[in-house]
């Protein structure tokens, strides 16, 4: 498969997962905000840790104001991670690899793009933001279903999976991290909202009943064996995808992406919650996020760049190039 095609598939998938994560994050927090705050100042205070976790600085919040933050995160063209931007980028990537996609897959993505481009999304938002956010989540889930059901599970599909799960690991870790940014110990509502952001509420209840605590939530989102958004599950999937792509036996590594993933996998496989808490939940998550960024860069170097280019560019430039690809 062409290197660029692999790269486009990877990013298309990442952007769609990102749009979905963002939609749920906005939805959950807007509803939580109703409990917390009723004036603009309080709203800003409420959103600040959430925004910090997704790396938007406070200045931005000052400009937008507390009440409009949800709308900005959905529609802003200036903000590269807004839902609109993610959908546009996903579609732009898809346009470059039309030949790899089924007609059904393309139609689904192009329709949501047209929906945003032609103003349908704004109309629906005015009727109630939940309608729109639901629609976006549903789009992503349908898209995932179609990718599983309508395209060959070959190399291209592995890159889709890789993009999706790298993004998802990132999101779960960021959502969990919001609990570290509140000034006080997280409330029951805070914990519930984090679980909701990860569609983990009912799965969590099955395992822990009503026993809602920071420890249990962290334990579940970090270490669940079989919940498809837990960090352990996601990193296993990434590891498996990488090994299927390269053909190397699991437990070994052929490239840096595999080595780093293997080591992240060892961390989530052979660490327990006590150790995490001792080290600090935020510190653990922060380290994990740094790792994820590096895995993404190494995937790019391994499959998109030529060895000579990595050498001649030097490592930091290659990292920048990976970043530039992301913003394409």
């Amino acid at each position: 498969m062409l290197s660029r095609v692999a790269d486009n598939l990877y990013w298309m998938s990442r952007y769609i997962e990102r749009a979905e994560g963002m939609a749920r994050m906005i939805q959950v927090n807007q509803s939580l905000a109703l409990e917390y705050a009723d004036n603009d100042e309080q709203l800003k205070e409420f959103w600040q840790p959430v925004l910090k976790s997704i790396c938007i600085d406070e200045v931005h919040l000052e400009e937008v104001g507390g009440r409009k933050i949800g709308k900005t995160l959905i529609f802003s063209e200036a903000y590269g991670n807004s839902i609109r931007s993610s959908i546009y980028m996903a579609r732009e990537n898809a346009r470059m690899v039309r030949d790899q996609l089924s007609e059904e897959l393309w139609l689904e993505l192009n329709n949501i793009y047209l929906f945003f481009r032609d103003g349908g999304a704004e109309e629906l938002y005015e009727q109630g933001s939940d309608h729109l956010l639901d629609r976006i989540s549903r789009f992503s889930l349908v898209f995932q279903g179609l990718s599983d059901a309508t395209i060959p599970h070959g190399e291209g599909w592995r890159f889709l999976t890789l993009g999706k799960y790298l993004e998802r690991t990132d999101q779960t870790s960021r959502m969990l991290d919001t609990l570290n940014f509140r000034n006080k110990a997280p409330s029951r509502s805070d914990l519930m909202s984090v679980l909701r952001c990860c569609i983990a509420l009912s799965a969590f209840r099955q395992q822990f009943r009503g026993n809602l605590s920071l420890q249990n939530v962290a334990n579940f989102l970090l270490f669940s064996e079989d919940f498809p958004r837990s960090i352990r599950f996601c990193i296993r999937t990434i590891d498996h995808s990488l090994h299927t792509i390269s053909g190397s036996p699991s437990g070994t590594f052929y490239n840096e992406a595999e080595r780093l993933t293997g080591s992240a996998l060892a961390m989530v496989n052979f660490t327990n919650l006590e150790q995490v808490m001792e080290k600090g939940l935020h510190e653990t998550l922060d380290e994990l996020q740094t790792n994820l960024i590096e895995i993404g860069q190494r995937v790019f170097e391994t499959y998109v760049l030529l060895p000579s280019e990595i050498k001649s560019l030097g490592e930091s430039d290659a990292a920048q190039l990976a970043q530039a690809q992301q913003q394409q």
């Binding site: 498969m1 062409l2 732009e92 346009r95 470059m96 039309r98 030949d99 393309w106 329709n111």
Partner: protein, 484 residues
Amino acid sequence: MNSHSQFKNYSVDHFFDEMFIDNEGENPRPHYERIFKRLDSLTESEISERRQQADTSFLEHGITFTVYGEEGGTERIFPFDPIPRVIPESEWSVIERGLRQRIIALNLFLNDIYHEGKIIKDGIIPEEIVRSSKNFRPEMIGFDPPQEVYAHICGTDLIRDDQGNYLVLEDNARCPSGASYLLENREIIKRTFPQTFGGMSVRPVEVYPDLLLRTLEHLSPRKSQKPVCVLLTPGVHNSAYFEHTFLARQMGIEIVEGKDLITIDSFVYMRTTRGLVQVDVIYRRLDDEFLDPLVFRKDSMLGVSGLMDAYLRGHVALANAVGTGVSDDKVTYAYVPEMIKYYLDEDAILQNVPTYLCWRESDRSHVLENLENLVVKAANESGGYGMLIGNQSTAKEREEFARLITSNPREYIAQPIISLSRHPTFCEEGIAGRHVDLRPFILYGEDVEIVPGGLTRVALRKGSLVVNSSQGGGSKDTWVLKDF
């Protein structure tokens, strides 16, 4: 005629009408009878609904092109008119022979001017005309392209005058586009008008991608294995990007951008997740000037460094060859009938539109005196740009063109204003006559192959003679009917 007829207000005016023989739009030509009856039985809202269906389908499937000039380029659908254009087999077979003759002559001409230049020595065409063509490539002199063919894919634009004679308006021998619309239009019409289409023995067109692939594979320098063919696109922002992905997908070959290719030791490779893969044939949808920054435009980010070197060594084939643009220069065009005579000793089956060459002094003064009655065209522009239609122009525009012609006569030609034939077309005011042309696609691989018909383009704006998509044109499905 009943008062509900779709055609009750239809008027042929003084144009040649593709569907009707007489003036009032009452008597269709025999090959249009069935379509006429079918259309007449539909209500306006039924037709409108089907057209809406077609538009939605184009938009959803992303069958779009990009219009430049506006901020960042805008994606639009190429408007589709649901009333098909019909050509009887008897007419088509003449067109087919004419196109075949023409592409063979054009290729002999290209081979000649990049080698001995006999046609120049024999005084048929002046050397300075050939050499001064913007798209003459001195790099190609003495080079033998695979199979000695240069223009493998050619789109020749035909129009009909007020007597219904088919005339060649221009040849597009560089990177003609539109084949994807030809194929998609057929798909759409089958879906939106199944009853009309069924049982009409319309000659099929869906073989085009297979023929194109065969044409490409035929050029491969490596005969021992299945050739690796790729389609080279300028990228997602190109106006014809949809077509590029469409054709690549239909042929099952990779669509690549310049950055996906790399040359090593004068061979071309594509970069894949499994390493480098050698490329044999490049169907390039990128103009010569952008192909290789080492040889042509240095600022080209779209090309591949070292591609020309690999090409000239015969390590990779390009379709079309480099330098074919000299044959679709509008000045060269005027000489095609003489080329046909010179190389094939035949008379041209398809006539040219009479053409004044502004570099000839006598022609120039005639043109300058008669700007109001002529169409002036820049010799190397396409897409309907750089053009003056005399009787629709303002005095200011004519002054501007007079100045352009005087300062650079080589680059301008003029032709009488041909009243292009019209075709019933679905418009705001109901069904009305609109001007059309026809672009058949000619493939020259092992043999010359032409899919029946071509892309009919229609000028949707009332009275407009410009059919280009960038200028408000639309398209129609084109049917060649076997039994007429």
